[in-house]
Symmetry: C2
Subunit: 140 residues, 2 copies
Amino acid sequence: METITDNQNVRMTKKLEKMFGHIDYKHPPELCPVRDVMSVASDQWSILILLWLGYFPVLRFNKLKKYVYGISNKVLSQRLKVLETDGYIKRKAYAEVPIRVEYNLTTFGKTYVERLLELTEWMQQNSPKVLANRKKFGLD
Amino acid sequence: METITDNQNVRMTKKLEKMFGHIDYKHPPELCPVRDVMSVASDQWSILILLWLGYFPVLRFNKLKKYVYGISNKVLSQRLKVLETDGYIKRKAYAEVPIRVEYNLTTFGKTYVERLLELTEWMQQNSPKVLANRKKFGLD
DNA sequence: CGGGATCCCGAGTGATACTG
DNA sequence: CAGTATCACTCGGGATCCCG
């Protein structure tokens, strides 16, 4: 598991070649939507929001704020707005008193969370290794 | 491809359950290393740096700065430092005149870039959809 | 001359208070 | 309850400077 085979390297290079047609540095940023889309979806708060919305089928503003520990009102509402306009989540407001607002993943959002989970699983498994790296660093 | 089967939903929920033992909101952040590790590795600049280092076996500071279009000296050097201490990349300095510094992925970093590629591939394929969502939003 | 470090400034963020 | 308003503050961008 520590080593990477040549086959894996070849596959990686192929994928990277396809990728870099799109995030190529010669493209002015306004012609490179991938980076733009990526910056929204890979934001640390957005990731946590999406994961929690994957876990619970539906969540309200203050519940979400409680789960996404440490997020502020301002950032939460801003991220929710962006995630909604980008099509990952849906917002439903009920004209009750007090008002009730429910957020949930769209179908599109669910497919993204599936992918996201692969990555966060890796992080969960490897975070001890990273912490060990941090400790070790500078000692040798 | 548009719809998500019940089976997929079940798998997702299982993974999320495993996950949320670790990013649970009841955990104080200092006991939640996953979020900490994640915030480094999912940073938008770090992602681009790692992808380019996946594409080229080795890169020097100014080359990297050119490819990671738009990054500043300060942020680049700071991200490189963090990525090094976390074990994703390695830095080699040659005492020449002028000085030469080379960065490359570690084996650990390569395994991460493999995972990262799965995600960025998704973004590449779906960014048109996101852009369409943005345009459509507010019209209905 | 390459690889940063430093400094200054503006945009974004966090904490709290407040409102429809 | 679901957000906005306010304000102090941090962080990133950009230019410049420095050191080997």
